[in-house]
Subunit: 403 residues, 2 copies
Amino acid sequence: MERHFASRMATTPKSFVREILKVTEKPEVISFAGGLPNPQTFPLAALADAAQRVMAEEGTSALQYRTTEGHAPLRAYIAERYQQRYGLSVTPEQILITCGSQQAQDLTGKVFLNTGDRVVLERPSYLGAIQAFSFYEPSFIDVSMGKDGIDCTELSEVLSEHPAKLLYVVPNFQNPTGISYTQATRQAVAELMRAHDTVLVEDDPYGELRFEGESLPPIAALAPERTILLGSFSKIIAPGLRLGWLCAPCAFVEQFTIAKQASDLHSNALGQYLIARYLYHHDVNVHIRSIRDLYRAQRDCMLALLARYCPPEVSYTPPQGGMFLWVTLPEGLRALDLFHLAMEENVAFVPGDPFYLNGRHARTLRLNFTNADPAAMEEGIIRLTRAMRRLMERTPIATVPSY
Amino acid sequence: MERHFASRMATTPKSFVREILKVTEKPEVISFAGGLPNPQTFPLAALADAAQRVMAEEGTSALQYRTTEGHAPLRAYIAERYQQRYGLSVTPEQILITCGSQQAQDLTGKVFLNTGDRVVLERPSYLGAIQAFSFYEPSFIDVSMGKDGIDCTELSEVLSEHPAKLLYVVPNFQNPTGISYTQATRQAVAELMRAHDTVLVEDDPYGELRFEGESLPPIAALAPERTILLGSFSKIIAPGLRLGWLCAPCAFVEQFTIAKQASDLHSNALGQYLIARYLYHHDVNVHIRSIRDLYRAQRDCMLALLARYCPPEVSYTPPQGGMFLWVTLPEGLRALDLFHLAMEENVAFVPGDPFYLNGRHARTLRLNFTNADPAAMEEGIIRLTRAMRRLMERTPIATVPSY
């Protein structure tokens, strides 16, 4: 029956990560592969209490069909928080509640992309977004990332060469590299978007997870008329509720609403009521501070372990927030080869390959630091660096670039 | 910025229902328009209890990222129930949990439809499915419904004329007509699917809501290798949890899983845990029996009121289950004209138009009977039939068919 599948199923990147992560599920494996929040950050007691109250006081509403746009108090809270944090003038009508940011990416493809439309990505880029957009069969092009964010000279050239429908970026603690955009880069991106009449998709799942340094306003503040800003409760409350949002001009939200109605009618109402109740009855800033403190300590722990155990030829980013370190192997080595050796050592990570368009032979890899206790983290880094040494002994380091 | 939207946004049927239903939201309006389950059927206390236990005993799992396929105990329960009810040999691997049946329709479009592929629908058909498939820009064709289900002679002609990728049907208490397929029709559909190598999408949200007569096995039992059978918890537990499923051959489920991962990673985990716990600790058959008893009484009430108040020129179906009556006005009258008069009387329904491809000037309309108490129902039918009389007085009844 395979001949019946749509052609887009053949062009979609095979779920490389699904495949490789299957082997990491054995209990003896220490995994730095996932992007899971640490479950000890889930406000379990508060959500249990909220569940009881919602069921007792508004259970009938939380269990009935609701509007596609989402629970009004939740939309109001999100709009108000943008106002408080960054002085953005966002109205509740600009907020659409989605089934995680992942759905917002899918809906963006649905609303904006014709087959062959150009989509510009960061190099490397978040693989979930590459997958979501791929289903709409665009033509992708990527632009280098530097330490200040996307390379705006290269971006300007790419946009001048050929008009692009969308630019997708993660300006805070990017997945996978951990890089954050400076204010100058944000400003330059906003200007390029306007000059080339491109729509910006600004994905911000980690913006609240800054361990140090100053929070910068979203690029949406600089180009509000053309930016779709994505947010998520997955990293600050809990991912299992599958709730996020998009914030966009009203004319966009209208189209997103039509698309979402056809996709799933609306996001689960009980989860929306739980989160709204949690947010209105607790100080979420205190909660977020405790997540930041935990993750900062975990990042510091992993950086200290790498400083102690890692071969000096291997480099890695020290991110100011988020959930990931980005490791670069010496030229001539391949992260996928390291992955196989690491699996022999019972430690897992995500090789860089799926974060690149048609990525092959990447020498980069992503390590998650939020979801392991210190003892397991040390053992995991010992195993991983042992695998690195084995790879380096096996493969003479080339002097030609491998990627 | 409208020029940036994808062309599919222009070809998608404007959300007619969203527009007309806006005017029905005034508190003084008695509405037969929605398709809402009666909230008194929600097992509120049992779900509140389940919520407490899930949070206490497996809260961390229910709040974390989970697999795309869905919660294993829930998939096992659904497979087992098909076995028990109809003797179908379905394995848990054939079940994918979705964000309501609506998402299953969307994923079906995503996995199967290339632009221009032919999709065969019932005439009239469920408008939510028309919308979901429209986003993949197929070419639609519809086939008449008779009292035994889809017209298989016409279906055979349509399939012989031009190969179709999909046939979408609702064989139990169809939305909107309330019609159910006989066993002979089911058999003929299965044979035609096989003869013309077409994939069947069998949507069954109402199958458990049979008030009388014998339950027939799904068409999936007759053509399991090519059928995507959709089910939903919306009508037997609660729609606000947004949980349904699809049951399909494993090779299909694999593609659906890739598509769903890109759409929203997975359905909300807390809702899945709640429903699984509810199903494993309660006799859902007793619960479903109570819903059937309530809806049977409500259907009987509406039929009695129509028998009493309705002009004899107007006909309507007496369905054996489900949630809707389907009313046909005399030739020459238009349901949309009736709608405007009815709104003056503060009573609402859904005119037939959006259930037809490019539907215009339909003389049919859908009445929901599950979500009004008897007193409101009587007042609503009095108002509606008054509007019918006003329309009939205003419009001389034509002798030529209008649709």
